[in-house]
Symmetry: C2
Amino acid sequence: MLTSTTLALMSVAVIGYHRRMVRWEPGASDRLRAAALELFAEQGVDATTVAAIADRAGVTERTFFRYFADKREVLFGDQQTFAALFLDPVAAAPADASPFEAVAAGVRAAGAWFPEERRAHSRLRGAVIGANPALTERELSKMAAVAEQLAGVLRERGTAEPAATLAGRAGIAVFSTAFAQWLADGETRGMDELVELGLRELRALA
Amino acid sequence: MLTSTTLALMSVAVIGYHRRMVRWEPGASDRLRAAALELFAEQGVDATTVAAIADRAGVTERTFFRYFADKREVLFGDQQTFAALFLDPVAAAPADASPFEAVAAGVRAAGAWFPEERRAHSRLRGAVIGANPALTERELSKMAAVAEQLAGVLRERGTAEPAATLAGRAGIAVFSTAFAQWLADGETRGMDELVELGLRELRALA
């Protein structure tokens, strides 16, 4: 006969086994991201612990720290992967493409990474980040780093300064403006359409 | 006859009197800024206390906190005053000026706030900020806030979105790029010349 104590111990053992399995499961980082976003939206970033995030994702804290340096980092994907969305098309642009055309190719490629099915998640993430000044600064800093990397790729292509830096920053301005529009309540246009609009508007401005 | 103890007590009294006077002296914030920058450059931001800054400036810690919220804030002027350099010329631009022309007027006015005699101080400040990721993020965040305010003034002038946001961000990109060039070792061109170069380059890019 199983007593309630025995059942509780079995349950702990099963959870323990499950967690050991999960530590090596490729889906862990996605589950951690989803769990963190839910908790941040429910109770705020400051009130959410790494332990609570790991618990909701069904993994250990140790697994958490295998993927992320701290709880805030869960909101940001791998920076190199994200930057590569912008940088690879710039490096691959035809040699006779202007700096602006090369950067536009990068911004379009990054925009394509945000199809309609990511909008709800991105809106929730944007709301969490917008409510927290430290996260807003981290987001700005990461986008500024991509702008600087864009300038670096343009310099390698032979673009002089300050044109390279200005083109990198202008490209990130187009992306970030389109992204903020895409997240706005009631906005139905796709990210690709908003990126094209931003590129046209920037040309028209200057 | 004055014993050394009496002399020491007098000295303390004189310093105390001096400090009470200084608390109300208009130059205190400038001296605090200079003292903080020296100490940050000598020993780093983390190792520098508010007490040490106040001591070198010859004021009390209480006086320090009358002017600044924390030691890092000493590196940043009053945000409203700084933003007004950009915003006032935009609000005052002729009604038929394009968004880019209006923003260019603001960027030129802000550039004029950095004449040659401020370059050495600005270089030291730039080195301190560049060596500290948290300060770099604060600087980025403050510039992003000015870009957003620029967009707000443009919207009041009738500029639609996303043109207003893009023009604000493009203007700050020109300013920040010119400012970084102005601070670079060996750069001798003035901030006004570098701002004009940036405005021209941005036009040529797009």
